[in-house]
Structures are given as C-alpha cells and as structure tokens.
Amino acid sequence: MGMTAAEKILAAHGGKETVKPGELVKAKVDLILGNDITAPVAIREFRKIGVDKVFDPERIVLVPDHFTPNKDIASAEQAKIMKEFAREQGITHYYEVGRMGIEHALLPELGLTLPGEIIIGADSHTCTYGALGALATGIGSTDMAAAMALGETWFKVPSTIKFVYRGELNPWVSGKDLILYTIGQIGVDGALYQSMEFTGPVIRSLSMDSRLAMCNMAIEAGAKAGIIEPDEITYQYLEGRAQREYRGLFSDGDAVYAQEIEFNVEEIEPQVAFPHLPENTRGISEVGEVALDQVVIGSCTNGRLEDLRIAAELLKNKKVHPRVRLIIIPGTQKIYQQAMKEGLMDIFIEAEGAVSTPTCGPCLGGHMGVLAKGERALATTNRNFVGRMGHPESEVYLSNPAVAAASAVTGKISAPEEVL
C-alpha cells in the first residue's frame, strides 16, 4: 500500500519503513522556530528540563516579529529574553529588527525550509512551509522547549485529504482565494487533525508566493499541515537559496486518502471572508455594501512581492478613500527593498498609504493598526475572529491583495475591476 508525501516524510524522520494514519511516531525535526511571543515561554520551560545546551544551535530559528519593533516595555522585555538566549546558545539564525521579516515570509526567502523536511514552529502558521514540500506544523511553547532539548518530537500521523484544482483561474484570483474558497467549503474544522494536500493542474502552475499563501491558511481549516509536492517551480525558487541539501518526497500513485475533493476553479471568483470566521466566505459579487475604516495589505499570508505588485497595479495614480487608512507591510527587508527598486513604494505613498517595516503587528491586534470599537477593516491577513485586530466590537474581513487595494480606493469592499 502506498503512502502520501506527508506519511513518507514522517516515516523517514521516524526511522520507519512505513507509517499509517493514527499511528504515534517519534520523529527527528530539521528546524524549530519561535517568535517573540512564544519563544520566551519556551525558554522558561527549556530551563526547567535541566540541560545546558540546545540539541543543535544551527537548527533553531528565532524571529522577533509579532510585537516588534518593540511596542511597549513589556514586549521589549520578552524580545530581550529571546535575544539573550540566542547569544548564550550560539543560535546563528536569530534575526534582529532591521534584518528580520515576518517569520513565514523570512524563512522560505532565506532557504531555511526545504522539501522533505519536518519543521515545527511555535506559531500556528508554520504550516506555510508545506508550499515547499515540507511537513511543517505549529506547536506550542512547551513542545518547542522539549524539541530544543531533544531534536525530536512526537506526531500522530495525520490522514490526508487530497484537494485537486482544475480549470483556468479567473482574473484577480490567487492562491489566497483558492484557500479561502476551500475553507468556505469544508469549514474551520473541515481538516481537523488532518493534512491537506493541494494538487492538480492549477497548483502546478501556481507561483510560489501564491502557494505559500495557500499552505499558510491550512491551519484555518484545522489542519496539521498543508502540503504541495515539489516541482520545477519549487526547484527554481530554491536555486541559490537552499541552505541545506534536500530530497523531495512525493505521494505514491496508490496512496490512501481520507477523502478526495475536486474543484473547478472557473467557478471561483475573488473571495471575501466575513466576520468572525475564515469559513464565512462569499464571492466578491455577493458581498454587497461594506464600508471600511482600514485596509491592511501584508502579513505572513500576503506580504510577499507578488502581493505588493498586485496592490501597486491597482493603486497606481489613485488615492486612498478619505475615510480609509491603508497600511502596507512588506513581509521582509528584502521584499521591502525590491518593492522600492520597482517603484512600488512611490505608488503606495502617492496613493496616501502608510508603509511599515516588517511586523505581524495589526494582524493580531498587536500594534501598527489596531481597530477602535465599531471600526471595520479589510485585511489580507488570515484570521477574522472576534477582537482579532483590536476592540472586541470591531470587524475584520479577509481578502486577497487585489480586492484589498481596490477597496482602499473606493472605501468599501470592491472588486478590482471597479477601480480600473
């Protein structure tokens, strides 16, 4: 009986020939990630274990990105714990403000997340790296602490749902829309404890930035991981970037899936998720009148170069609606610089948008764009829970960068065509 790519990766890291869904496996991990919210707790727990050194300082990545540049004294104290731990342990993959990026934009860009690897991160959106054919999943701080000591962790082998996308993409439809549509179909627990394998001709021609956006939101369907098998697009992306040798793993022809779901993407238009769950999706033509106070373009979902280019295309020679604040956050320093070189920053500033240094900031209501009571935002982020971006009586809608940019101009949720 064949195995899925996810099962093969777990078997290879657990020293086993085969694994089956439901089985518990102790597996070696290739990379462990923590940020300024989760790593300080992990460090506190690590100290309790009674070992002096992490298993391998080259395999741990620490990124201060959530409340940084430090938003207040308490956050500064948390970030400091992480910085000092990195120095003490000789962790080279510590990325200070000015060198950092939003973790899930930064790590793939640096070539730290590779096909066939197991990556765990104390951040739920660690599943992003499935776009490169890795088995990547979010864990908590205590799991991170134990893995930093042992270099391994336990997994329950997930069963896999196969999602096959066919047809021609409609204009302005990106990876973000495919994943929002999928979550809308299966619900926020539609893939609970499972792995989502994205495949089919549409995925095979989808850009890496769009793939990363798709896998990023697998957690929003409750999944342990989202995974796309590596192909030419993956190898091109990794060329000159990969920091380690790697070997991609692929699903067998006779692999067993819990379910196979096929979508004709010609039926999918740009999607908008209404408050307060990512599953509350509607096609843009079904949205109606939704006036906005703020638009955010950025985050680990949609703060990559492709996203900024699309936003700039729609914002060129336009002005942000007088009632709206537009906040644009490039995912990494490199993306920021490239956007500058391409003239995208000029377009954003001339449109009267605010551009920020990389940070998760507004996505989780941390800083750099917190909502007041009754305010409404459209964001290219990943969650629209109650109070996610600020006051418990504020509202967050989710979309792709094209819809977000167009809506910043019109002042209400709008299709990109409306501003062209």
């Binding site: 989760t38 739920s124 908590g140 205590t142 627990d189 209501g365 941390g366 829970f385 109650v386 418990p392």
Partner: protein
C-alpha cells in the same frame, strides 16, 4: 483517583484562542495576569464569576487559531479544572496536555451539559457525571503515550524523566 468537581460554564462552536486570551495581553506570560483576562472578549465578567474547580464545556473545535500556549495557561490558572468539548483544535490539544490542563473529548457530554450544571469528572476512567441532571457520559481514553505525559505532570517532567533514564 483524580476527581474534578465544579460548575459548568457553557460555550459554543469554534471558541478561538483570541477569545480565550486576546493578543493584547500576550506581552506577558505570567499565568496570574493571563488568568484575569481569560475569555474576556466573550464574557468580560468570566474571571470574577468562576470558582476554583469549575469546568468549561464547549462544542466543536475548541481552541482553534493561534499556537499561543498562553490560552490553556490562562484557563488553567483561572482555576478551571477541566475542559470538555466535542472536539479540540490540534495545537490547543497538545498544549493542554503538555502543560497539564485536563481536557476531555465527549460530544455526548458537551451536548447534554447546560450552563450551571454541577459536574464531576473522573479523569482516569474518562467518566463525566452530571449531578444536576443525574446523567453519565464517557470520553475516549487518551493513548498510552499521552497518559504517560499526563501522569508525569506535563511534557517537561516527562522529558526530564526520559533524559535521566538515558544518563
């Protein structure tokens, strides 16, 4: 025998980690501070209403969203003895076991228990008794490996034990 006993506080589907502990409080990981804001956006009075030992009961996908361990920590340090739900989001599930917050999956109990019911839980047997309604429900037992973590008092103690066996 571990018996937990308290009043039930009932919640619905998809209780997310931003509701359990909003990110605006994540600049600290002090359990006592987190406890004060537990479930604040769903019920601002929650922390002042509950008593030590009380039990949270919710429906499907409890703890969805972020990986913040601050969420089960906030619940545990608020004095909640146990969470019963139809199902749990997977990171929350791991985190709860790792930090020693008892959780039980029982759709039957999660449906039948009403807010204010007095509930007793026998963790080892997975037995949930509703004293108010005079009903009994069962939850599926944990896999053996997870029981080892639970009986060690959480993952850190479990790892310590493993490392001392090695040396």
């Amino acid at each position: 025998m571990t018996l937990l006993h308290g009043k039930a506080w009932k919640f619905g589907d998809d209780v997310d980690t931003d509701v359990i502990i909003p990110a605006r409080y994540l600049s600290t990981s002090d359990p006592e501070e987190l406890a004060k804001h537990c479930m604040e956006d769903a019920d601002p009075q929650f922390f002042s209403k509950i008593h030590p030992g009380d039990i949270m009961v919710a429906r499907k996908n409890f703890g969805c969203g972020s990986s913040r361990e601050h969420a089960p920590l906030a619940i545990k340090s608020a004095g909640i003895s146990c969470v019963i739900a139809d199902s749990f989001a997977r990171i929350f599930y791991r985190n709860a076991i790792n930090i020693g917050l008892p959780i039980l999956e029982s759709p039957e109990a999660a449906e039948a228990i009403s807010e204010g019911d007095m509930v007793t839980v026998d963790l080892e047997k997975g037995l949930i008794k509703n004293e108010t309604k005079g009903e009994k429900y069962y939850s599926a037992p944990f896999p053996e490996f997870m029981q080892e973590i639970i009986s060690a008092g959480g993952l850190i103690n479990y790892v310590k034990e493993r490392l001392s066996e090695k040396s």
